[in-house]
């Protein structure tokens, strides 16, 4: 959207970031591992003299663990922490302390909701747009009318909440979706078992349900499996955000005709460019600053429309997968 006022900065390789920490919500999840691969690729490309650490808490201890790693990173004075925030605003004091110690805090995947303590957020997609993409998929699958429900991760997941809010906004504002009725939101806590049971319970409590929208990779997969196992695929479809590799069979057999996602490798790659730029002082993080992120091309730092006073780099766009393109992506 921004005009090319200034020339995009080329980020010089070979400098010392002072060390960078890639901090996912927790370890052991494929998408974060993919982000790590992307980050490693960028790190190698940039010939950073500082080290790239991939440190994460355990799933049971995610919030406290993220705060701890953030605090320790500040103590050690690393150049940048790249955070997929799972702690909501609770990370703020730790992030601010780290920032004061000179550590740049770059968020990706999931930002700090109030934006404090964060230098910039690398947004995978425009959160406003997420609502529209989900609404469109729902409209397509349901033929423009009927009931659908949402299966989210946990009530505490800031990005999920933002996406659901934007979906509700789109549904309320656009006449096109007037006949789509969102009946309920339930939470599966990103566990297969809970998500699976919740999905079935949705079907039981809403006999006219036509679609389950799950903006989480665990949830969408569990819901699709549940519908398939119970022979409900004709009646209730599944959509949301999912990994092609996990969803390919459900897309092909019609249980989950459409779903969307972005590339986590690219996200990790881009985030590392931004963090390295900031840590080496090549980027200031001002709104309007333009830079070239290696193979991914030019990006601009802009004000985040969703969070007042916060800044973001928008990676975009969504890829919507269906039976035509899912197989190729699953490879």
């Amino acid at each position: 959207a921004t005009l090319a006022l200034a020339q995009a900065k080329t980020i010089e390789p070979g400098q010392d970031s002072g060390g960078m920490v890639l901090l996912p919500k927790f370890l052991g999840i494929l998408v974060f591992e993919q982000a790590h691969e992307g980050a490693q690729e960028a790190h190698d490309e940039l010939q950073d003299k500082g080290e790239l650490q991939f440190l994460g808490p355990t799933p049971e201890n995610s919030v406290a663990g993220q705060i701890e790693i953030m605090t320790t990173a500040g103590t050690q004075g690393v150049g940048a922490v790249m955070l997929s925030n799972n702690a909501g605003d609770q990370i703020v004091p730790a992030a601010q302390a780290a920032a004061q110690a000179g550590t740049k805090v770059v968020t990706w995947d999931s930002p700090i909701p109030n934006g404090e303590g964060e230098s910039v957020f690398v947004a995978q997609v425009d959160f406003e747009q997420t609502g529209r993409v989900m609404a469109d998929m729902a409209y397509d699958i349901m033929g423009g009318e009927g009931q659908f429900a949402i299966l989210s991760a946990s009530p505490d997941a800031a990005n999920q909440n933002a996406w659901i809010a934007s979906l509700e906004k789109v549904l309320g504002e656009d006449e096109k979706y007037a006949n789509l009725e969102m009946v309920e939101t339930v939470y599966g806590n990103d566990q297969s078992e809970e998500s699976y049971n919740r999905a079935l319970a949705l079907v039981d409590s809403h006999p006219d349900l036509k679609l389950i929208m799950a903006p989480t990779t665990v949830g969408i997969q569990a819901a699709a499996k549940a519908m398939q196992d119970e022979g409900l695929c004709e009646q209730v479809k599944v959509s949301g955000l999912g990994l092609p590799a996990e969803m390919v069979s459900y897309t092909l057999n019609g249980c989950a005709p459409q779903f969307a996602l972005w590339d986590f490798r690219d996200l990790g790659y881009l985030t590392t460019y931004v963090a390295y730029g900031l840590a080496t002082g090549q980027l200031t993080g001002e709104v309007g600053e333009q830079f070239t992120a290696g193979r991914m091309g030019d990006y601009t730092i802009e004000a985040d429309p969703g969070r007042e006073g916060a800044r973001r780099v928008l990676m975009g766009p969504f890829t919507v997968y269906n039976k035509d393109n899912v197989e190729a992506a699953a490879k």
């Binding site: 370890l27 052991g28 999840i29 494929l30 974060f32 591992e33 355990t58 799933p59 049971e60 009530p155 309920e184 939101t185 339930v186 939470y187 990103d190 566990q191 297969s192 078992e193 699976y196 049971n197 919740r198 079935l200 319970a201 949705l202 039981d204 409590s205 006999p207 665990v218 997969q221 569990a222 499996k225 196992d229 119970e230 590799a245 996990e246 390919v248 069979s249 699953a330």
Partner: protein
């Protein structure tokens, strides 16, 4: 058998509570008491029941196994890795592998508890963390997905063995129930299995009476591990998508099921049938709550906690009543005449 044993009483009380809960929800939820409810509960109970059965064996010996959830997760992942590497593997072989890996973890726990003398709560608290860490290391963050699995495995949990008036008896559920009943019979009838009760009832006396208490405890842990391993395979088959959080929280669920099912946390008394009913009870309450329109999403947990507490209290009160009734009846019946009275 004219009189009920305390064990049978306890199961009766539990069933009563179960019926009460179902009856209550039937008044609240439309279309509640039907075959679908059975299908839902039975499918998800199949996994928990196996773990709760293993947990019961351990609790009977006055121990506890907090690592079962991690074992479930690890075995689910490991068996997933095995079938994706060797899709042609024979189902029985795979099941044996699941049992063996689980039993291996159980053996480790059991050795530390029984032979090294480390209290089980410490051992398995540590093991819970270690096994899950091992899973994170071992998996390298790669998930197992349904695509990696052979069709027979994916189909297994929902294969309908027979259907009665819309009530489907599915393979996983039937298998789990058969296992629970077998373990129940073994506990009731096999003399070596009775040692579990003896050891839990009074460990010192067991040692003095010449029971090999250590081996008994070891056996309980190995069996619990093996059952959790099998549950891991069921987990894999049912959910298909295995990540490092698989099985998280199952240890508490299984303890809740066992304790609700009347297994004494101090060892020595309880039955696996009770644990099965306990598992059904928790699942029934959870499942029904999601469908109860009166409670919104955010009220569910609070109501769940309250209901579990009520169920436990109701069970305790019922149990006291029934026991008193039984004693009355025994008193009324002619008691066996003591020897001295005839002298």
């Amino acid at each position: 058998m004219t009189r009920l044993s305390p064990g049978a009483l306890r199961i009766l009380a539990l069933l009563l509570v179960l019926v009460l809960v179902a009856a209550f929800f039937a008044t609240q939820i439309d279309n509640y008491l039907n075959a679908r409810l059975f299908n839902r509960i039975s499918s998800s109970v199949a996994i928990v029941a196996l773990i709760a059965t293993g947990q019961t064996l351990v609790i009977l010996t006055r121990n506890i196994d907090l690592s079962l959830g991690s074992v479930v997760g690890f075995v689910a992942y490991a068996t997933g890795a095995i079938v994706s590497a060797a899709p042609e593997i024979h189902p029985v072989l795979l099941a044996l592998a699941a049992l063996a890996i689980g039993a291996g973890f159980g053996l480790l726990n059991g050795l530390l508890v029984a032979y090294a003398g480390i209290p089980s709560i410490i051992t398995t608290l540590a093991a819970m963390a270690i096994y899950r860490s091992a899973l994170v290391e071992f998996s390298g963050a790669q998930s197992i997905t349904t695509e990696d699995l052979p069709q027979w495995l994916v189909d297994f949990p929902n294969t309908q063995l027979f259907t009665l008036a819309g009530v489907q008896f599915r393979a996983a559920f039937v298998a789990a129930v058969v296992i629970v009943i077998l373990v129940h019979l073994a506990l009731l009838r096999l003399r070596p299995a009775r040692a579990l009760y003896a050891v839990g009832s009074n460990p010192e006396a067991a040692e003095m009476a010449g029971i090999d208490a250590r081996r008994t405890v070891l056996a309980a842990f190995v069996a619990a591990g093996a059952l959790a391993g099998l549950a891991g395979l069921f987990f894999l088959a049912r959910f298909g998508n295995i990540t490092v959080v698989a099985g998280l929280g199952f240890e508490l669920k299984s303890i809740a099921a066992a304790v609700l099912g009347g297994v004494s946390i101090n060892g020595g008394s309880g039955s696996v049938i009770g644990a099965l009913i306990g598992a059904v009870l928790v699942d029934l309450i959870e499942n029904s709550l999601v469908r109860w329109e009166l409670v919104s999403e955010f009220w569910r947990e609070a109501v769940l906690g309250f209901l579990i507490l009520s169920a436990v209290s109701a069970d305790a009160l019922l149990m006291r009543r029934l026991t008193r009734l039984r004693i009355r009846r025994e008193k009324a019946a002619p008691a066996p005449t003591p020897k001295e009275a005839t002298s």
